[in-house]
């Protein structure tokens, strides 16, 4: 996927005036936060579960190597194989090789953000293998040559009209605005693909160490067909998805569904444990788990380690007022919203992602809703610190900050500066008491007025009062 994060500001400006996008974004609030709030209200122990989940994740991350090795041993016991990939490139090559070994021409795919992260589809296509997305949202995007703008609702930026038009073009059927009809069309088309696919690729929401199983949650059931029909099943997952036991997994599932969609439980929770056994009705003959690191192990032991607790529920973006205003594409890479503003710099480099950790008011809503209590504002601040130390902060901002700090560290000079600013603002405002155009503050006054100071500075007035004997 082409990186467009350096153009974040421009992307945001375009997004704000995109009528269709703005209409689609209007569905986010009713679709997610309202439902989450209801689900949370029905569960008094929700916050206690969040604490447990945070602590458990911390424990896992402390012993990540151990749990991954147990997981691998159990995958092998179940007849599968684990492939360790340090980089996105390693992962792409490994999956391509596995597909080629299986003689694959088409592969079906369940929804997987990690496959987006490693840019898998383009790589397979370039080598003559046709990937077919089977998640409805991803399928629509693939037809349109588009990318997900949200980690659990990839096509949230589209409206029904867009889907209708796309299907009309690709399915060659009469145009319909009925969601049920469109769904049926997609089902029929995809069914043919399921049957002929040589390989099924899915992601994983969790990897269970004690059984060597991988789990996916979906509301469409497409994942099941993707992984049971083809002869080869490849699971692509990042390393931090491992949990010790099935019981631990269920703790996260309870939080995940409620935080994501406000469901008590996702409709399909599908465990895959190795290859088809004697007596099994279906299942793959070959089972591969491709474990992707891609910068994650570098986050261990540092401030960013907390980000690895993320269970990809999307609550942070669903509740983010910045995401809500501009949508996911503006962020310019795979992971949008607050979690993306922390992860993206790690994966594509802070130089390219510099604007993302700054695009937050630090309102703290994301941290408030995160089921595993990731302090997202603190982690964005980590990147801002990194940018400042490495002189990536824009020069003008550095100078401004430097001048301001020079005064702020010298109280009597600071008083003088306040008095001068106070006086200039008041004379600019005149009797109207507000400024409609501020010479050095266009960014403010283009959008809103600047109220004027109501009188002399407090410190001036306070001193005057105390001098004249009024000691309040």
């Amino acid at each position: 996927m082409q990186i467009r994060s350096p153009e974040f500001k421009q992307n945001a400006r375009i997004a704000l005036t995109d009528v269709g996008l703005q209409k689609a974004l209007g569905n986010v609030k009713t679709g997610f936060p309202d439902k989450r709030a209801k689900a949370v209200a029905r569960m008094p122990e929700f916050d206690a579960l969040r604490d447990q989940a945070r602590d458990l994740k911390n424990h896992i991350l402390q012993h990540l190597d151990l749990y991954l090795e147990i997981f691998e041993a159990n995958v092998i016991k179940q007849g599968g194989q684990v492939h360790w990939c340090r980089t996105a490139e390693d992962a792409r090559q490994t999956i391509l090789r596995l597909c080629q070994e299986a003689g694959a021409k088409t592969v079906t795919k369940g929804k997987s953000m990690v496959s987006e992260e490693i840019n898998l589809n383009a790589h397979l296509e370039a080598h003559g293998i046709q990937p077919v997305e089977t998640d409805l949202g991803e399928y629509i995007l693939q037809l349109r040559g588009d990318h997900p703008s949200h980690i659990i609702a990839p096509a949230i930026h589209l409206n029904l009209e867009d889907v209708s038009e796309t299907f009309h073009q690709h399915h060659h059927k009469p145009k319909s605005m009925d969601a049920a009809v469109l769904m049926q069309e997609a089902r029929e088309t995809l069914r043919e693909k399921f049957v002929v696919a040589d390989v099924g690729i899915t992601g994983a929401n969790f990897l269970v160490a004690e059984t060597g199983s991988t789990l996916i949650v979906t509301n469409e059931g497409n994942g099941d067909l993707t992984q049971t029909l083809p002869k080869t099943h490849i699971v692509v997952s990042s390393i931090e998805k491992v949990v010790p036991t099935l019981e631990d997994m269920s703790l996260f599932l309870r939080l995940l569904a409620r935080s994501a969609t406000g469901q008590e439980f996702t409709v399909y929770n599908t465990l895959s444990s190795g290859t088809k056994r004697l007596g099994d009705q279906d299942g793959p003959e070959a089972f591969h788990v491709v474990l992707v690191d891609n910068g994650r192990s570098d986050m261990l032991g540092g401030e960013l380690q907390e980000m690895l607790r993320c269970i990809r529920c999307a609550a942070c973006m669903n509740h983010c007022p910045v995401y809500g205003a501009i949508g996911g594409h503006a962020y310019g890479w795979v992971y949008p919203g607050p979690m993306g503003s922390v992860l993206t710099p790690q994966m594509i480099g802070i130089e390219q992602a510099a604007l993302l950790p700054n695009a937050s008011t630090f309102c703290g809503k994301c941290e408030e809703v995160c089921p595993v209590r990731i302090p997202l504002p603190k982690l964005m601040r980590h990147w801002r610190k990194n940018e400042f130390e490495r002189h990536l902060t824009p020069q003008a901002a550095r100078w401004g900050l430097g001048i301001w700090a020079f005064f702020a560290k010298r109280p009597s000079l600071y008083r003088l500066l306040s008095r001068i600013s106070n006086l200039s603002l008041r004379s600019l405002a005149g009797k109207k008491q507000r400024i409609e155009k501020l010479p050095f503050g266009q960014a403010w006054t283009q959008m809103r007025d600047m109220p004027a100071p109501s009188g002399k500075t407090f410190m001036q007035q306070w001193q005057a009062r105390n001098k004249t004997g009024h000691n309040s």
Binding site: K9, F388, D449
Partner: protein, 263 residues
């Protein structure tokens, strides 16, 4: 730990914005503190809490300003200020120092003594003597730092409920950020503008004549937007109403009412 004194000595943290834009907010706060039985002083060595540096990743300057503030308020039983955001910054100070640095302990000590004004009145002083002649319908914006870092939600409402002539109509999404965010509003003006427009609409929908809040940054942002849109909603810091100090025109309003709104 020392027994809290009956007439504690409070060091008042003015905040840059109250100093520069709205001295009334500082005077009203001091009046309330005195009504709540405190002795109040304004240390002259204070300037800014350092938040602009901290949020820009400039921890060196943030730490220098933290030290300056810690020293200026070393001798007070409490530190109180009219802003959840600035007091929230004081609560961040311990993060700026290493475990073994002696300033770490001093920062933790300051944090334990630092309160936003409405939370101090309610949580520390259990103050129930609000006397205000204000009459009218208001709505309240919960500023993010106060709400989420200092858990300020009920305190201002509890105090406002003591005013007989006042009705509070809650707006939709009172807890949603107004888009100010310090330097955010000038770094990302388009996004900020969308956020504050949404907020102005929510405020307008309540039909309230007055918008109140506890942070001047957010209030300036919202007042500026409301006046630009020609909406007839006045904006004040909550302490002005609580202290019965609302003779002065509201934020950005002219003394001469005919100049108050675009014709």
């Amino acid at each position: 730990m020392k027994e809290p004194s009956t007439q504690p000595l409070v060091g008042f943290f003015v905040t840059c914005l109250a100093d520069l834009y709205r001295p009334e907010v500082a005077f009203a706060s001091i009046k309330l503190l005195e009504l709540a039985g405190c002795r109040v002083e304004v240390p002259s060595q204070q300037t800014c809490c350092g938040q602009p540096a901290f949020n820009s990743g400039d921890n060196k300057n943030a730490a220098a300003l933290a030290k300056q503030t810690i020293a200026a308020f070393a001798d007070y039983e409490y530190v109180v200020g009219p802003s959840g955001s600035c007091i929230g910054m004081l609560h961040h100070y311990p993060e700026l120092f290493e475990e073994r640095d002696p300033w770490k302990q001093r920062a933790l000590d300051l944090k334990a003594r630092a309160f936003e004004i409405t939370s101090f009145l309610v949580d520390v002083r259990d103050f129930t003597q609000i006397q205000s002649r204000f009459q009218g319908q208001v709505t309240y914006h919960d500023s993010c730092s106060g709400l989420r870092e200092l858990k300020i939600k009920q305190q201002p409402r509890q105090l406002l409920a003591q005013i007989p002539g006042l009705t509070l109509t809650e707006m939709e999404d009172a807890e949603t950020c107004c888009g100010f965010g310090g330097t955010f509003c000038v770094k990302y003006p388009d996004i900020s503008n969308r956020m504050v427009s949404n907020k102005a609409e929510s405020v307008h929908q309540t039909g309230a004549e007055l918008l109140l809040g506890g942070d001047l940054g957010c209030l300036l942002n919202m007042a500026g937007k409301l006046s630009r849109e020609g909406r007839r909603v006045a904006v004040r810091h909550v302490v002005e109403i609580l202290a019965d100090e609302f003779a002065q025109p509201a934020l950005g309003q002219a003394a001469d009412a005919s100049l108050a709104y675009p014709a």
